[in-house]
Symmetry: C2
Subunit: 249 residues, 2 copies
DNA sequence: ATTTTGTTTGAACGATCGACCAAAAACTAC
DNA sequence: GTAGTTTTTGGTCGATCGTTCAAACAAAAT
């Protein structure tokens, strides 16, 4: 005879949103240092979900697959994260803030680069692609999946509801890049600056899903997993692209 | 007590693959002109599937949703197309050959354009994007959904099995574009030509899903649905991009 | 040692999934 | 009009979906 309200969110002692745990610490009991009790489960589920979501998207993966991949019981996914959508959000929340901050830091450094307009423009573009590639290749095992998931979601129509956590963390990053490029190019139409960066960002997100199209076309000579080489080619290509939209060089 | 073999594909009188109906006409009965009996059902299902798949992908749509959208019984999807995967393939097969042929025709015309290398390069790039945009905007109601579905699938990892029908129709198109650009630019590394066109194609497919990112960033000044304007900006941008990879101009 | 709290187990629930079928209906051919 | 074929109907199949629960277990706190 349990009351079954509108949404009796998660049973009694569920963790749920341990993300914002360092707010002001107004919890009734549980005084101090308790990081050492559940060393894995939550992380294991996040890792498995991150990997599977990045390949087949939100709809293409079941909680049973995630639990099996993580080697835990199905019910633990609900205990730790409440629902499938919350788990998806948690996967994003784990890295998004750090990722966005790294990109912003790289942009800040790029804005202080001296040199010709071409050099400074390339520095700005490199700040985005190099930071993303760096995380994908040198951020540890989960990061590559996260980057692919980021690209996967960015390529989805805006109508989908589960993409909103991404927008929260990355929209202002994109805005800052457009602003920096606009300041560098007062001679350009503001709309054309937006177009140019949009093309750059579109290519970036598409390529990161490793669709394998490139590998097929080149007969093995090129590999979409060779992200460092790709970044080295993208920067001069898209920097030159701005010339086609009226950028002075 | 029906025999239930490995795959007793579709019950007795199912149409199934009426696509290749103009082969050599070796069917036993059914002599001539019978186009006027089932004016809709199959088409209605295809239209509904095309629309729903383009927004939420293969996994995100159920046959019941498709049937409801088409206003027909669920079982009719199985009767006309056999399975969900076959229906997905049929959606692609309906337009892919025509679409690829239009792009190839535009490329052939572009290759005969006279003028500077810049002019000829822009003509080649325009052949792809303008043809796609033309179908999306002026091809009739279903085409816009098809183009979005095309982009949706192109942005998926190659491991997915249901993307193969797309590859069959479009891989050689991409190859021909790379070849044309390579002939126009003998001074460039062949790999760089591939990179350049890959960036162009990546931006194209990403943008066509109408992720709405552009609309948000520009505060309403730009609309990703304004595809004609986008094509006009893409062509000079990506044509100039090749300069960054060593193209003479 | 006992209570309290947090975590895991194993099993179900109602709903929905793709697939399938026998019978009715609609249509064509004779 | 009757016979034969194609299309539609309404329903069911087993499997799987996300979610939920009571009970068992583990770990701290008292």
């Amino acid at each position: 005879m349990r009351l079954r309200g509108v949404n009796n969110s998660a049973t009694v002692g569920s963790p749920m949103e341990t993300n914002l745990s360092e707010v002001t610490g107004s919890r009734p009991k549980r005084p101090k240092a308790d990081r050492r009790r559940a060393p894995e489960t939550g992380t294991r589920i996040l890792d498995a979900a991150e990997m599977l979501f990045s390949w087949r998207g939100f709809y293409g993966v079941s909680l049973r697959e995630i639990a099996a991949e993580a080697g835990v019981q199905l019910a633990l996914t609900h205990y730790h994260f409440g629902s499938k959508e919350s788990l998806f959000s948690a996967v994003i929340e784990r890295r998004a803030a750090d990722h966005a901050a790294r990109i912003e830091a790289a942009l800040a450094e790029a804005k202080s680069v001296e040199g010709s307009r071409r050099v400074r423009r390339e520095a700005i573009l490199r700040a985005l692609i190099a930071t993303i590639v760096d995380r994908a290749l040198r951020g540890g095992p989960g990061w590559k999946n996260y980057v692919r998931l980021l690209a996967f979601v960015a390529n989805h129509p805006q109508e989908e509801e589960y993409v909103s956590p991404f927008r929260t963390h990355y929209d202002h990053v994109i805005h800052d890049f457009v602003e920096a490029l606009g300041l560098l190019h007062p001679e350009m139409e503001k709309l054309d600056v937006q177009w140019g960066f949009f093309f750059f960002q579109a290519a970036t997100t598409h390529i990161l899903v490793e669709s394998g199209m490139l590998d097929r076309q080149s007969g093995g000579a090129l590999h979409s997993s060779d992200l460092d080489t790709m970044a080295d080619r993208m920067v001069p290509f898209f920097a030159a692209g701005f010339l086609g939209l009226g950028a002075a060089d």
